[in-house]
Symmetry: none
Subunit: 256 residues, 2 copies
DNA sequence: CCTGATTCTGCATGATCATGCCGGATTTAT
DNA sequence: ATAAATCCGGCATGATCATGCAGAATCAGG
């Protein structure tokens, strides 16, 4: 068995099982444990695995989705500017959908107070923030609440979404890329976001620049389907999205 | 099983259940309790858990600055005591419904952290408070959000309620009286509360003493249908309700 | 085909790590 | 108050690791 074959096999094993045990691999492949260890060192140098005592683990794949609670704490100012800029897209006297996420929560907080709006959301935090604002009526799309994202997900949520026809939906972005479109960290999130996209007449995405040019495992919509992108810094990823037909808005450092 | 895998498993268990028991983990993973203790020590050093006698707990998340609205609604100490007393009625591993209202919000905040629960609610504020608690899964019943009560109301809400069968429902009381039963200030609220009552196997009411012996225009359920009443001061209205078959719990000044 | 260089592999050795067990202290429950 | 469960520190043991070295396989060029 060639060294590279062994490497490929170990990498495959890491992908499928998430971990490998050095001694077991040595026995299975009929080589010494030293050889396996050397293999693991080589793979680690290439970032394919992370060595631990006894074997190796598959590295954490995607940038791990942090719980919203923690995300909301960071980057307060930038999120606020983003929210204010995005809020200007919200048409008056229409049904606007706000997906869950820290950016959209900031967006909700930054909604202009002089505008009459009906806001639908699947995020309890957004509903709790807006429900007693004068001039704003809130429709909450229920379902099981996902602890990770703080959003309602599941079949009930998707079914309830089918009865709404928002003029504009702000979909929370886990990752946006011109090639991969809008993507999400979990299947359930992606299903809900896709249901929102299906229902909405137009789609807007508010995202911090670190989300741009990245992608997550689950596809929501292609980039062409995104009408507006609001972010805080112009970059290569913005241009690529603009080429795909997305109207890109950059929120200046001073929102006045 | 690799040490790191065990660590990851324990961390995951902490996230989902909120606590782990050393002896149970040792038996389940077929290692000695000493090893588990060492694991817990390592995880504690990384801030993943907080060790206690017999096992470990998920760390308290830093208290998030709550919207002023929610804080003011709490009315301080009395509501908290009431909430803690009422929370003791919540059966473990069962579906519990929490209606909207400031008392029930306090109840949600006072829920024991070591209990596994599924909580359904029609109040975005309660869902936002509970959704990322370890050991608690939250189902949000959606609908139009009533600005007055902060609760979801309307036909969609009633329809969604019909699919739940909570073992116990804490219905928010606008007014409770032995003769008039549980009553509400608006028709829509009353309809939703009645739908909750229909769905639930048992009904509990947590109410401050000023609600007792009073009534409001819209009838929800008769007094006989109320299983438990939790309040903070014994009085004539309590006795009348006890005569109607309600189990009355009085939360002492020191919940200890 | 031969030769020298390079790489891969296995083995030995001493160090490090993970685990289980034991005795005594501490906490919890009855 | 007493018994049981739990915790802590230390220790012994076996597994695992890093390193250096030597033989085998592979390869390039003559």
């Amino acid at each position: 068995m060639l060294t590279q074959e062994r490497h490929a096999l170990i990498a495959e094993r890491l992908r499928s099982a998430g971990s490998v045990v050095a001694s077991a691999l040595a026995a299975e492949l009929a080589v010494s444990e030293d050889t396996i260890r050397r293999d693991l060192r080589a793979l680690e140098a290439r970032g394919v695995c992370e060595r631990v005592h006894g074997g190796a683990l598959a590295p954490e794949m995607q940038p791990r989705p942090q719980p919203v609670r923690e995300r909301t704490a960071m980057a307060g100012d930038e999120k606020a500017r983003l929210g204010a800029a995005a809020a200007r897209l919200a048409p008056a006297d229409a049904l606007v959908f706000l997906d869950a996420g820290s950016t959209n929560l900031a967006l909700a907080a930054a909604l202009p107070r002089d505008r009459r709006l009906t806001v639908a959301t699947n995020a309890p935090a957004i509903a709790a923030l807006l429900y007693d604002r004068p001039g704003v009526s809130v429709i909450l799309v229920g379902g099981r609440v996902d602890p990770q994202s703080g959003a309602c997900v599941g079949a009930d949520t998707v079914a309830a979404l089918a009865r709404l026809r928002p003029a504009l939906a702000f979909i929370g972005a886990c990752a946006v890329d011109a090639g991969h479109g809008l993507t999400a960290f979990s299947l359930e999130e992606a299903q809900v976001k896709a249901a929102i996209a299906d229902a909405a007449a137009a789609i807007a995405v508010a995202a911090t620049p670190d989300k741009l040019g990245t992608f997550a495992p689950f596809r929501v919509v292609p980039a062409e389907r995104i009408g507006h992108l609001v972010t805080t810094r112009r970059g290569a990823a913005c241009d690529a999205l603009a080429d795909a037909g997305v109207a890109v808005h950059v929120a200046g450092p001073d929102p006045q």
